[in-house]
Amino acid sequence: MAMSGMRGLSVFISDIRNCQNKEQERLRVDKELGNIRTRFKNEKALTPYEKKKYVWKMLYIYMLGYDVDFGHMEAVSLISAPKYPEKQVGYIVTSSLLNENHDFLRLAINTVRNDIIGRNETFQCLALTMVGNIGGREFAESLAPDVQKLLLSSSCRPLVRKKAALCLLRLYRKNPDVVNVDGWADRMAQLLDERDLGVLTSSMSLLVALVSNQHEAYWSCLPKCVKILERLARNQDIPQEYTYYGIPSPWLQVKTMRALQYFPTIEDPNTRRSLFEVLQRILMGTDVVKNVNKNNASHAVLFEALALVMHLDAEKEMMSQCVALLGKFIAVREPNIRYLGLENMTRMLMVTDVQDIIKRHQAQIITSLKDPDISIRRRALDLLYGMCDVSNAKDIVEELLQYLSTAEFAMREELSLKAAILAEKFAPDLSWYVDVILQLIDKAGDFVSDDIWFRVVQFVTNNEDLQPYAATKAREYLDKPAIHETMVKVSAYLLGEFGHLLGRRPGCSSKEIFNIIHEKLPTVSTATISILLSTYAKILMHCQPPDPELQSQIWAIFKKYESSIEVEIQQRAVEYFALSRKGAALMDILAEMPKFPERQSVLIKKAEDTEVDTAEPSAIKLRAQQQSQTSNALVVTDKSHANGAPLPVGQLSLVKMPSMSSNVDDITADPRLSQENGTLNEVDSPLPSADLLGDLLGPLAIEGPPSSSAHPQPSSNPGMEGAAVEATAIVPAGQQANTVQPIGNIAERFHALCVKDSGVLYEDPYIQIGIKAEWRAHHGHLVLFLGNKNTAPLMSVQALILPPTHLKIVLSLVPDTIPPRAQVQCPLEVTNLHPSRDVAVLDFSYKFGNDMINVKLRLPAVLNKFLQPITVSTEEFFPQWRSLPGPPLKLQEVVRGVRPLPLLEMANLFNSFHLIVCPGLDPNPNNLCASTTFYSESTRAMLCLVRIETDPADRTQLRMTVASGDPTLTFEMKEFIKEQLVNIPPASRVPPMQAAPMSPVAQPASAPPPAALNDPGAVLAALL
């Protein structure tokens, strides 16, 4: 047994090991911590050796799980020790004790940088290792160029370069801009020529991260990856030390194939052929061997090859080989291979149409659902979920339900969610759907989320044919001796609404229904009591002719709960009691709930939203997103939504009593709906503020503060460039208050500039910042005009651009000083890399006298600037429209809370954003079709089509469909248009609307001051 070189440390570790129990151990640790603390207090008296020893002890104690809340400084300070042994301890312990968010780490940046750029190779390695393991954004910004240099240096040993490659990878993950330098792709390609396999392995990891975010720049790496793979697969020129159980570095093979999965296709026929040869060899040549390590390694390569074949959508023959292999794997006994077989079959479903072949294995997969190992069961569940369609839904859901009774708790929630979704998506008939959900609640009530029973209520409410059936089922379940509370809720709700439909059946009279529900009341929680009270009120209402005995019974209950400590129950009791004495009026008030508006299933959304946290986006997901079809989910029919609107206000206000609307809350899970109905106050639409607009949009020139300006700027002044100086109205700035207030509304100015290409971005008593822009394809050329309005110079002028990731912005040098009454121009080059609605921010500051003024301004380099109008004829529009089949390339959404606009106004609004409305394209006069071309580096020129279907009866809602050849673009465009429709910027030239009832969703967004708060860009600007 090797002993550590430090006696004190070994003795301490032995002491800890000799402790009889946890208590003794804690005492020993406390004693040691006390000792270390005292020694650290008198740091000067410590020898480097002692310091090192104590820091190691601290790490050991920390590793045992004790809090070590001091000594971090000492660990960090060892980093700057001159000798290797102390420095090494400093680096290692620091990277274990601290994380990237720790303040102390910042203190070390300089030392770390000196070690990286210094000549001591060992120090370089230590520094690169620490930065690679715990470096954060700050490290990325200050060290990336130095790390790049080391990676590319021909004088460094491979030892340093492989560390530099991974260190750079870390920095890139923290801030992708660090390798956004011209020519990096070429260097990356050169790195792939590396002969040292350690450097190559590290570089390949770096490449995977780079191509996963943006493959276009790295095309030149593709053939090189194929070459590397060939070399490895053929075992050509691979040093013995890089083979693992006879297999040339399986890890490098896997990484290389991973990188290749991020390129959408391989165009060059030769490269493609070579790659397929290699893949074929891997698929055919991987045999099962006795040695487990060799087996694992060769199958690691095989599974990666399978993934790559799936990605390349290889010829049918190769794909069927893959399916055959996977079919074999899911039947083997070796658990790891079976697990991976199931997992990869699920992945395969996402990319190609192999459903029918996989269905043949259904029985085999179901056996895995009963495997003792939860990991395997989970994969089987995923696969069954993925392969389910109308033809096998009944079988699969039955299996899931059966399994639910025996499944462990860890899986029940997921299982019931998946069963509920499948039942909803593939129900051959709706009664089956109701059966499944009620069974789910019955078997695993604790794991059935509210969303699931809300959804079944929605279906039943919206499908009249289903109502008697659902009520019968609910009634049957109530007969069971012990039922889950969720079952009480759903049954009570259904029977309250639809119980009267069962009128003549045995055991279904109002009185009997009431009795059986009321039996459950003593055992349920307060939330359920509220539902029961509503049910009683409904039963009472439906009981015709009235049954005096039942009435007095229910009234007695209402009376009893009038003094409930729960406000909700109390309120319901009081109100129902009062209402039920109104006789006929009760009928109107407690009428059946209106149908639910059509909306995406919350469940499916939930399932789709489960976030996966991975360092690189999944290649399969990226691909699958492009191929997935429209969800087949049942659509909740929506016949009566319009009925809701024309009800007289008097009646509405009754229906919207708090008790009832909270009832709505209970069952919809979407607070918007109830609020929409619940708010009746009318909201004045904002008027565009006076004539500010005219000023804003007028020609750009420097003006004095409007309050004191003696010579207002003539609006006909043509001077963008030359007229600046003589046009200045001079006003002594001395009298101004110390706090500098902007002139005009910054948000309004920004919105105006979103549709105009020149105007004032910002103005205060000292400075005016104007902007003029020219846009061509995905490039923008902007000029900032910084005009000093005063007779004194503006000092310490600083402009900093904070670009979002999708924009590359280069700002030319901004002078430190702007002379009195002068205007300087600063050109700004913008490149749009990919579609996004994020906004760039200009962080601008200057000094006037003793005042330091700093403003954050959004730059109008917004999505619509990269649109170019294009008119499309009917012959062109529809084939394009149809060729984009569904999500994620074509997205549809029902938008509510839209500012009601006449169609013509809406068309103008669209045109102002370069979304050109093609009149007459859509035969329905209530619809609009628009088209545009979007430009970015990643998408190039891409056609984008939009269709808006409005509802003439309700102008506050519309259905919008957006389609383009790029999923991100489609999504961003959809969100962009939605923002424009819901929150019409005050600066666009929309005439004031007549006051219209607004939904509360739109309400805050349309009033000017909150608009700024709701606008994420503004919030960002305020935060920065």
């Binding site: 190691w56 090494q88 290692i92 060992t122 991974l166 599974f303 991975t614």
Partner: protein, 142 residues
């Protein structure tokens, strides 16, 4: 990428913990506790993979020690499983017939070896020879 690496014995004592993502101390303790519970009772006939929160843990047991790697859900399981074995082979070579006590008394050496093997949550060097030679160089500097 590898999120973290844990070496734990059957009782749940941590023998090495390396995090490549920033976690608070309390979160680290929780993670160590949960991962131990997750792997310790699994039957040896089960898979070496188990879901952990939004990631998965690839683990392997050597005598009384569990080596666990937490990786992304999309990562290649078998490649990481063999990565554990390669690490064990390196330790075995370095300590010549490694046992738990070697790792306890020389935990600082284990950290050093790991830093030559994995960096930034990615595999850095797969040559046992290269790593052992490098350790020799470093020992001379001590």
């Amino acid at each position: 990428m590898i999120r973290f690496i844990l070496l734990q014995n059957r009782q749940g004592k941590t023998r090495l913990a390396k995090y490549y993502v920033p976690l608070e101390d309390s979160e680290k303790h929780k993670v160590e506790y949960e991962v131990h519970r997750l792997v310790v009772n699994r039957d040896p006939k089960y898979t070496n993979f188990v879901e952990f929160r939004t990631h998965k843990v690839i683990y392997r047991r050597y005598a009384g020690l569990f080596f666990s790697l937490c990786v992304d859900i999309t990562d290649n399981e078998l490649a990481y499983l063999e990565c554990i074995h390669l690490f064990v082979e390196i330790l075995d070579h370095f300590f010549s017939n490694v046992c738990e006590l070697d790792l306890v008394f020389n935990f600082h050496k284990v950290y050093l070896i790991l830093d030559e093997f994995i960096l930034a949550g990615e595999l850095q060097e797969t040559s046992k020879k290269a790593i052992i030679e490098r350790m020799g160089e470093l020992e001379k500097l001590e």
